[in-house]
Amino acid sequence: MPNNSAPLAEAPSEPAEARHIHAALTRTSTGNEDLRELEAGLDSLQSDAARKTRIEWSRILLPVAALVVLVLIWQFYVSLGVKRRDLVPGPLDVLGQVGVLWGEGKLQEAVWTSLQRGLVGFLISVAIATPVGLLLAQVAPLRRAFGPLISGLQVLPSVAWVPAAIIWFGLTDATVYFVVFMGAIPSIINGLISGVDQIPPQYRRVGTVLGANRLQMALQIILPAALPGYLGGLKQGWAFSWRSLMAAEIIAVGGTIGFGLGSLLDQGRILSDMTVVMSAILLILGVGILIELLVFAPIEKRLLRSRGLLSGSTR
């Protein structure tokens, strides 16, 4: 069959250049310099151009607008006069009361006392919970033994410890701190453990291959890898500290316990002064929001962005 043999006969005389083309099987570059240039070209094609960061006004303006709308609805409801003014005070009444409390110095004292206790209690909780959490996450028998208990403690409302704490420690700061610890420590431990559980198994294998010993593995691979989950635990731990603190301050009043936001709230209840009650609630909420916005949100954003976990989220 001459038709078939013709192209076959031509094949060996193909020029070397043409052979080189269908050639993932052989070398595709002509030397180190050529390779460097090809790779540099491919690298720039495959990487995204750096994006500039600028102030996103919608991030500031939208929450402010939402707040304004809520306050306007509140004011509108009050001006309808459905309820007595002393039961449902308007925004301006509450603002006036906040001004009075500020003038008396009560507001500053209450915020400072609570904030200081909350932060000290939270930091001590972190210092206790972090090594305990790492140990539980890394040592299987310990985890099996104490894991359910720690999870259980997280479900138990820490207010339940207030009566016990008052009996043990009396009306002192120790009572307040004890309740804060019982709220924050289990939730930080749980956050850290779940952060460790979510580490891709590959990271440990890489650690082993690179020759990390147990301590290096825990501190240089496990802990940084678990950081997003740990940070979630810290956030929740702070929320639990703050809530537990308020509960303790509302219930345990007097003795050597200082005057905090919870105490202010309780005072409002005793005086049946709704403006004081509302002021205290809004202050407790405001402190919580400020801590989230000024402390946790920036840390979290930085952490996620540096790991490339932020793209596509609505954050």
Binding site: H22, T28, R36, L42, R205, Q220, I221, A225
Partner: protein
Amino acid sequence: MPVVLENLGKRFGDGAPVLDDVNANIASGEFVALLGASGCGKSTLLNIMAGLELPTSGALEVPSDGAAFMFQDAALFPWLTARENIELALQLRGVGKAERKAKAQELLELVHLGGAGDKRPHELSGGMRQRVSLARSLAQDRQLLLMDEPFAALDAITRDLLHDELERIWKETGRTIVFVTHNVREAVRLGQRVLLLSSRPGRVVEEWSVTEEHRTDAGLAGQLTGVITARLREEIRRHAK
């Protein structure tokens, strides 16, 4: 002989053996491609050589200081920059701080990433990440380098370039490389020797040597690829019944 495998066997629990009677000798500075279809225990064999798993029978001889390992995904730590990833490998090896910095830069230059050291893994393309990963495994400074399908997830253009790159680095550093792949063309392109592993149980059934002529003559390389593919398919067909 940095690597000797003798009658090596591995089974998990009571299951069928994954590896059975594997025999191979790998010379110092040799580039061996370990080829096989899915389920032939290629990765298990590599893990055993790396000391990540223990064989259930047989004996093996590997360098006493262990082996460097490169995974299919780059497995870079996302909280570290490219440079820090390499520095971590050096640090865990016990290299001092001042020396680490210079050595990391040197390795980045070696994989043509001298300017990208301060980027995070997510800012790098797949090919760049694998090159950082290669630099990190070189930072371990082991004579034996085990590679588990390191280019399987890359696009064809990038993979072709990385083949050239890996060949160049192998020649520059004189490492002994065991390269696991399921890609016949890749095995022929890179290996000096291609070992074909059968599937279930895995066993070395045939081997071919690849000469310098195969590197430059696409026709010759294509012919060898055809031969090996035919043998591989025969091995796969055995499991049809």
